[in-house]
Symmetry: C2
DNA sequence: GCGTTCAGCTAATACGTATTAGAGAGGGGG
DNA sequence: CCCCCTCTCTAATACGTATTAGCTGAACGC
């Protein structure tokens, strides 16, 4: 079968010609929700019939150029989400965003393309790609602050999943309350009798890491423990989580419990599983250990880690809801939402086994 | 902080005024890769300086309005993919589509919104929603043929993942070769000594189901078995897969092996697991059983089913590649790709245990 | 018969960019 | 002095839609 050269997409002008009306009328019928009432039924039907017959669909570019809406929400991630071992971490967010977007009657645009320069940037080719969407949900740890600031300057509506700060102004976000959740975890350990609790934090100073540290410090302070009980180490490489290494760290600080900030990939928890299995380190028999967040995988874990759990799907849905509120009221100021983390009791903490260092406050 | 009323973004006109040139010159400098050489250095630099100073970024909508393309590929699924237990089945497709789309420098638009009418239709509001994208990958079992036909009539570029047929013309698809894979599975069973092999097929007559049945029939025929050895039952409800029911079916047909077409949700395989566990039915000790496709979950299975496996990620990537070829050469005819399934040996088939029915051809 | 009102439509325009034809200046060759 | 060429830049236009001001004809009141 000979294949016809691709026809030009029908425009409102084509429909107008076909239905014997003007382009303006077509526009009113097709998209003018309010003004559409003023068009009498016969005309409306004629236009719609012509539209259907010609296979019309609006040109997004033209529509958004004009300032109209596309009923498109974007999802932009600062890290590649899909084909890595990080996907298990990000997938629940994606799920939530997708679900709520659909529920609100929007379609979802995944900004995934890497530019020719190999640069995964919002501003590619001097243009803000996100602008095709009405608004955007942002996600990811390795934020490029400059781009965030530029988005704010441009007044582009977006919501970050996770607390983010920029010098140049406020932004909207939906964040998990790491501070309270971490402080609560410290309190739980103190109640069990722990006094020296080591916090293994991630390198860098992204907000999630900072918030966990704040929560840890607050927990220590609220337990009435002295300042020299603030024990923090930075975990640069998950490979350092060998059983021997963990024991050495605990001994050095006299710690009986560990609070570990998990990574978004699978390596950290795998290292822990390995320390327990082949390293002979038992939780909580030798050491209490709690995770400051979810193990990355959403598949059943080998261990039931004591931890708190981010309500990822809920955060995502809230973010979409917030974004749509921003869209509906463009004059509104940036807003911040905080959602609590869920405590998961697990089975990796218990009473301290190493006796407290002599001379320590009870 | 008071929030400024949304500022107007600087445009090329603003830059032009600022730099004392025309808008056309600005356009040439900013985006005219080739023509940019013809602009003398001082002018170029002046324009770029002005652009930087004003914080210019190009308006995508305007750009793509002019050019026609949005560098957007769509993904439309005929069933809701995300929030159901079908997601494990569809997720690998999504993964592959996303990956290849990104690799090709496109962004991915997920058509997920349900229209106001509650109708999950391509044609909503008298318009073809898909047209927002340059082209579209389609996916799903419960195809609405009429819509497919309409897409073909409109010359909208799309590729289906899975073999589909429409009366009105040809369409492009990337399909798994169910026929060969199923025939091969029959041959494997025959080699083990099976003669009476029961095929449990899904209800309905979608292409995947038809292809599996064709493969089954071909396998029986190629093994030189007579026509009365073609044993087919339709499995309406996965709950019918109880151990008792399976035994009854096998007895009625004198079958020693079962070929089961899996569903896209988790119920079927769960029923099988259950038949084995609480129903005391052992594979392959009591009965050989192979799946005509993947168990739905991509998480580790309890049983290692003998089966063939669709190369879902690869099919998805091929579909995207094919779609982009269609876009690059609009005059090209629809194309069909077939990819082989991978045989997974598993541990649920073995020699027949019930002795062959007397009088049967060896 | 004249003004008024109203429904039902259209003409015109703006949105920001890319592209093309060509204007204007300057110079060199005949 | 004229022709032609090059170099640098600009005016004009198209892209498809949304929106607004306003046109037309009919109905109505007085």
């Amino acid at each position: 079968m000979a294949h016809s050269p691709r026809r030009r997409r029908p425009t409102q002008v084509d429909i107008a010609r076909h239905a014997g009306v003007s382009q303006a009328t077509v526009s009113l019928v097709i998209s003018g929700g309010a003004a559409s009432d003023q068009i009498p039924e016969p005309t409306r039907l004629a236009v719609l019939a012509a539209a259907r017959q010609l296979g019309y669909s609006a040109n997004v570019a033209a529509r958004s150029l004009k300032g109209g809406r596309n009923r498109l929400l974007g999802l932009y991630t600062f890290e590649p989400v899909f084909p890595t071992d990080q996907r298990d971490f990000y997938y629940p967010f994606l799920l939530g965003v997708e679900e709520e977007t659909a529920a609100q009657g929007y379609d979802l645009l995944l900004f995934s393309s890497v530019t020719s320069a190999g640069d995964r940037s919002i501003y590619a080719g001097g243009a803000n790609r996100l602008k095709i969407a009405d608004g955007c949900v942002l996600l990811g740890r390795s934020v490029r602050r400059a781009e965030l600031a530029a988005l704010i300057r441009e007044d582009f509506p977006f919501v970050f999943i996770g607390r983010r700060e920029v010098d140049d102004g406020e932004l909207s976000y939906v964040a998990a309350d790491y501070v309270t959740a971490t402080a609560d975890l410290v309190a739980a350990l103190v109640r069990l009798g722990h006094r020296r609790i080591l916090h293994l934090r991630a390198p860098g100073d992204s907000e999630p890491t900072r918030d966990r540290e704040s929560g840890y410090r607050r927990g220590i302070a609220e337990a009435g423990l002295p300042a020299d009980h603030v024990l923090i180490e930075t975990l640069t490489d998950p490979a350092d989580l060998s059983a021997d290494h963990l024991r050495a760290w605990a001994d050095r600080h006299g710690a009986t419990a560990l609070l570990v900030e998990p990574t978004e990939d699978t390596r950290l928890v795998e290292a822990l599983e390995d320390a327990a299995r082949s390293g002979g380190l038992r939780f909580p028999d030798d050491l209490s250990l709690a995770l400051l967040g979810d193990p990355p995988s959403w598949t059943p874990e080998l261990r039931d880690w004591t931890r708190y759990s981010l309500p990822r799907a809920r955060m995502a849905r809230e973010a979409v809801g917030l974004l749509i509120e921003l869209l509906d009221d463009p004059a509104s100021a940036p807003r911040q939402l905080s959602v609590p983390c869920a405590f998961v009791a697990g089975d990796t903490i218990g009473p301290p086994v190493t006796p407290p260092v002599p001379g320590e406050r009870s």
